[in-house]
Amino acid sequence: MKIIVCIKQVPSTNQVKLDPETKTIIRDGRQSVINPFDTYAIEEAVQLKEKLGGKVTALSMGIPATQRILREAMSQGVDEALLLSDRAFAGADTLATAYTLALGARHIGDFDLIVCGRMATDGDTAQIGPELAEDLGVPHVTNVSEILEASDKELLCRKVTDYGTQVVRMKLPGVITVAKDINMPRMASIRGVRESLEAPFTMLGAADTGADPARIGLKGSPTQVVRTFTPEKTVECQFLQGDAKEAAGALCRLLKEEHLTGEEA
């Protein structure tokens, strides 16, 4: 089975601080990491390979430094990696990103399955998987929580919906996005890390993939981020100090002050 797993580099913390003037993320010296949802995608792809044989290729679009997280994926059982990196790709929204990733998938070629994480923790759109499938003209199933049967012809999987679960059979090639309870991602071994340092890695730019300049990067993005901001805290939390009696007294006073005791004022 030939599997592609899509991964994204995201900031390592969810407490992102924004520069008040430029509205860009302040990197606090901590490193970027593999999007946590994608770690489940990597594990699922590697497990399928271990069961059915074949090869797993990691695919990402990003700055050259993204090589680091692709090597990390290779330390966890991914065989090779392709990074799409070009200034012309910058500023892409989900549509342009999906188009670019589709170019990457076509470049890898002849795939049976593409596995994506459910969404990225920095954008939270969950659009890439489905858009990628549409671009490639293959079926997709989102939010997969369990693969019940797998062959290189089709996949039987359980998907989580808002109302319960569905069991879906999908012809391959196709795309799935996986939920986080699908598996427990393995940790790399030292051997895995050592082997990942020499594993095959390819970096391609826009021209190498034959990209249509009008469909990539900022130019190819019908949507744009106008403003990024940290939501203002509207709820204040107050801790009452003292022993049980003192705290209870303070609580009563506060409830009365706020007219929350049900008594007439």
Binding site: V33, T39, R68, M187, A188, S189, I190, G192, V193
Partner: protein
């Protein structure tokens, strides 16, 4: 008025009669002071009335130091403010002054999130804090497993943790202390300012009262150590108070020193099919030259050990208890685990050290593939959960057994030996546990040859056997040049071991020293000195 602060003991305060050691005591009154002045006024009153005082932080200690057996319990959990910040002009180092009730977990959050309450600080402190907020991330290195420990407690038992292998115990990160003595006088101690002359010392209280004393004449073991008073020729006298089990005075202000946080932190758990290979690996990563092996230059900040019984307990809990389901499967052939943490600043340097670790594993007889490498916070958290899960599982087992038999309590050792004695000490533990037929689990800070042997008795007979073993080990560890308490402190539970370690004469010297600061022997009575010796 001090009186208003002193409350009679009642059912409401019952939890203040026990601590994490699971010992239960009694007291007639309790107080919750908020300031140094309040501590001073309470102590003064108790001193005049000759009422013994037991001081408490967050009661997470394992040696019952905070459990009162009589008199007054003084709880410092409400002295939880950070008072000040300063930056050294020359070194750029940041220092914070805290009250003793600040919890380690809270301190860490404040440091990493740069979220200190600075409203009451001086302008100078605020300026230093602004510099702190702009500076690269900092951290406080001591890392006892129990992060709800209070800073006061950590100072008084000279706490350590996994990272102490590289960074040392809390002692090295305490720069100043304000201590209130039993008579209400305060002492201000700053590192580098007050020294002993040989073993003689003199300190002046803030009102100018002079206290002269003689330090015990013993040589401290050349190991990690939290057993009894720190005593060395010409020592810095602040060190006398760190690790003194609260017996000399009440720590009311603590100035801590921070270090810049390394850019990269990785963790590696290596599994071996034989304990012997794991211990060989420990020696290699310490940089020791072993026959037929390379000499390594890896410098891990911690080296933690888990024996086969500990791993087996974890395997069982993972099967039976959903709280531990997130732990990765531990294959049956994995018999011993060693966790190592690496701190560094560049990816390249860290990768090289990781590959060196791999080499060391192979030369010790292990396999590179039998490792878990954590290079992201998520994976580090996983390894941390694994490490913490073992003592937690053991505590749960003990609690279950205690329900059937009240007499049973946790029997966990805290002894360290010099480097040369690592293998023979492990062999001693294994053989004697087997001879007695006792269930146990061993884990701990193997880098410092400091292991926690936990005995899991099923009944009173086994409990008695376990206690005997424990006493026996105290003597044997002392004979090897080791320490009976390496990081938990002596408290009340290990006072007997301290006598084994130092002998009657030195215990007598320690008692004389305490007398200089607390002539009526009222403060934290029972800590360091067993009750039967109190009236000597």
């Amino acid at each position: 008025m001090a009186n208003a602060l002193i409350r009679p003991m009642s059912g409401e305060y019952e939890e203040y009669l026990r601590d994490e050691s699971r010992s239960v005591g009694k007291a007639e009154s309790i107080s919750f002071p908020r300031t140094t002045e309040e501590v001073s006024s309470i102590l003064k009153e108790m001193n005049e009335k000759k009422i013994p005082v037991t001081v408490q932080g967050s009661r997470t200690g394992l040696a019952a130091a905070a459990v009162p057996y009589e008199g007054h319990a003084m709880n410092l959990s409400r002295m939880d403010k950070v008072l000040s910040c300063r930056q050294d002009d020359q070194t750029g180092t940041f220092y914070f002054t805290l009250q003793p009730g600040v919890l380690l977990s809270e301190l860490r959050k404040m440091i990493s999130g740069k979220r200190f309450q600075t409203a009451d600080w001086t302008e100078e402190a605020k300026a230093a804090y602004t510099a702190f907020c702009r500076a690269p991330e900092q951290f406080f290195t001591p890392d006892p497993t129990e992060t709800s420990a209070s800073l006061g407690g950590m100072v008084n038992c000279n706490a350590s943790g996994a990272r102490s292998f590289h960074y040392g115990s809390v002692r090295g990160y305490i720069n100043a202390l304000k201590v209130v003595l039993m008579d209400g006088e305060t002492l201000t101690l700053r590192r580098g300012e007050q020294f002993a002359q040989g073993r003689k010392g003199t300190l002046r209280t803030d009102t100018g009262k002079e206290i002269s004393f003689t330090l015990p004449s013993y040589q401290m073991p050349h190991t990690k150590n939290a057993s009894g008073y720190y005593a060395e020729d010409d020592m810095d006298l602040i060190d006398l108070f760190i690790g003194s089990d609260g017996t000399l005075g009440v720590t009311c202000e603590i100035e801590i020193r921070l270090l810049p946080l390394p850019q990269i932190i990785w963790g590696v758990t290596a599994f071996f099919d034989q304990e012997e290979k794991a211990l060989r690996y420990v020696r290699l990563i310490r940089g020791e030259q072993l026959e037929g092996c390379d000499r390594f230059d890896i410098h891990p900040v911690s080296a933690e050990f888990f024996n086969g019984d500990a791993l087996e307990i974890l395997r069982r809990e993972k099967r039976e208890n959903s709280a531990f389901a997130q732990i990765h499967d531990i294959p049956q052939q994995y018999e011993t685990a060693i966790y190592v943490e690496l701190h560094g600043d560049t990816e390249e340097e860290m990768t090289n050290r990781l590959l060196e670790l791999g080499k060391a594993i192979q030369q010790a007889g292990g396999k590179e593939e039998d490792t878990w490498v954590a290079r992201s916070q998520t994976d580090l958290d996983r390894l941390m959960f694994f490490r913490h899960a073992i003592p937690e599982c053991v505590n749960m087992l003990i609690d279950q057994r205690k329900k059937k038999n009240k007499e049973i309590t946790k029997l966990g050792t805290d002894m360290a030996v010099p480097d040369a004695a690592l293998e023979e000490t492990m062999a001693m533990y294994n053989t004697m546990l087997k001879e007695k037929g006792l269930q146990s689990a061993i884990w701990g800070h193997v880098g410092n040859n400091h292991l926690h042997v936990n005995i899991l008795p099923n009944d009173s007979e086994e409990y008695r056997k376990g206690k005997e073993l424990y006493n026996d080990w105290a003597a044997k560890i002392t004979a090897k040049g080791g320490a009976v308490s390496a990081e938990h402190g002596v408290g009340k539970l290990k006072a007997g071991f301290l006598r084994v370690m130092y002998g009657e004469e030195h215990i007598g010297e320690m008692r004389q020293l305490k007398k200089a600061f607390d002539p009526q022997n009222l403060l934290n009575r029972g800590n360091l000195f067993a009750p039967e010796e109190e009236n000597k």
